[in-house]
Amino acid sequence: MDQFLINVLFVGASFALYFGIAIWARAGSTKEFYVAGGGVHPVANGMATAADWMSAASFISMAGLLAAGGYANSSFLMGWTGGYVLLAMLLAPYLRKFGKFTVPDFIGDRFYSKTARLVAVACLIVASVTYVIGQMAGAGIAFSRFLEVDKDTGLVIASVVVFFYAVLGGMKGITYTQVAQYVVLIIAYTIPAIFISMELTGNPIPALGLFGDHVESGMPLLAKLDQLVIDLGFAAYTADVPNKLNMVLFTLTLMIGTAGLPHVIIRFFTVPKVADARWSAGWALIFIALLYLTAPAVASMARLNLINTVYPNGVQAESIKYDERPDWMKTWEETKLITFEDKNGDGRIQFYNGKADMSDRGWNGNELTYNRDILVLANPEIAQLPGWVIGLIAAGGLAAALSTAAGLLLAISSAISHDLIKKSINPDISEKGELMAARASMTVAITVATYLGMNPPGFAAQVVALAFGIAAASIFPVLMMGIFSKRINNKGAVAGMLSGLIITLVYIFMYKGWFFIPGTANLPDNPDNWILGISPLSFGAIGAIINFTVAFVVSSATEEPPQEIQDLVESVRYPKGAGAAVDH
């Protein structure tokens, strides 16, 4: 069967499944729309959280990042999983006990301040919008490559699908589609990895194959890979990093940021009890780990396969002729994600670290450049797997992008309809009116996200800096202090959030350009100019420390929070007894 037909079949079947769920899981009340009625089983919520969390970046880009950076990029693995430990112990159970619908809701009530609520809404919207554009763009790429429609058409199809189940079902529809999407994406990620691991190491479990022996050479896989990349002038795959401070701060920023991202936090509002919120965080991490333990194996094996493709007789021998390149390279050249330029005019592909001097071999610069995303997308083709595996990858990439997009859109729309409209502008709005406002906000959010996906602004590429920086520097500290301290008051919280946020943004803008406008950066964005070698991507952790410190100092100098607020803090700490959500 034609590859295009196979792809359409796989993607079509997965979409039909999502539509079916959407019709089954319609939301009838705001509680169903915002938190799926609070009746989701902890294991199901764990699965939905995993799909919510694992975006196009995890599915498509992470293995490519790891393949390019080797050990140095392990920060992504530790950072994007370690946040769940913080979430499980420091936030999720208490916020579940609090029992309201949104993250700004807790901040607004706990710090008895409209300003705090609005700052939280602003942080939430900026972080989530930045994040959602990446998902829409990821869905667009998957469509254009696998379904042969152009990127914008692909984006519109993706939006219509999300619109259908997100607007109809709210959190309820999103939850059960996310469960289905998790199953699709984990199968799609694992199957090619198993084939490749079998081929290279003889071990069917990729995570074990990574530390196993390379069948062909009999050497350990990682030792073989180290040897190949060193011969091609790259740094060793397993090489240590020179700046440990930056690696620690970057990992910490990703961890705190993960725990502070509203679309992840609100997933824990959907389980029935506090005890379930604790279990559910563990299940979420197990489901996430199934992909995250496989990703580093995919990364090293894909890099090895790519090198072997270009140098079929070993890196010391001649590389392949451009005319004899494999078919997958031709397919991906059409998308411009792989490009070749014959710099020394010998008709062969020289692929190595262009900064290394290889003139003794007659090489005149690296001739093959590739977008690192293709390592996952083209992996089945590079490893010569059957056509249906490629169809799976297409459905899986879309599942990863759509599930995260839907979670983010819900976080955005509930902040607008609940925190802005119901809690700030029109407190008298009826239950029915609020549900309608929630659906309308969702519609607007999807439309805006689609537009921005088609015309990505400068900040879209800065998801890690902006979304994780904001979540780490503003949202996480204020939530944690709200639970673990009775003394932090409204003034301290607002001052802490604003100072953490502003200093983090200034540090990012100094190197990345003010509001990411090209040419407005004050300093070149490279390690020589970073203060103490701290990258703008790693600064969120510093912003969090500033937030904690300022909030503590300002609160100590001003009056204690009123008694009813101290009682509220007490009530979220103990699972027993009514939460604050009785008025819903």
Binding site: T81, A88, L221, A275, R573
Partner: protein, 86 residues
Amino acid sequence: MVDDKSKAVAYWQANVRLIIGSLVVWAIASYGLGILLRPMLAGISVGGTDLGFWFAQQGSILTFIGIIFHYAWRMNKLDRDMGLEE
């Protein structure tokens, strides 16, 4: 709200102690063994590389899962023992 003040205080202190202990393990597995202490583990070889690399790419994640389930189990038990469960 909890009626018995001293029980409530004991519960919260036990929770905070458990969290601090868990965070120490969390930090050692990732920032310690995975990053800062990696040069000291260079002698311990794991599948073609060293133990620090394994912790950075797999060991830390497995440790995190263990920490969360241990915390959930201990706290849910504490809830029941103190009669504070929902």
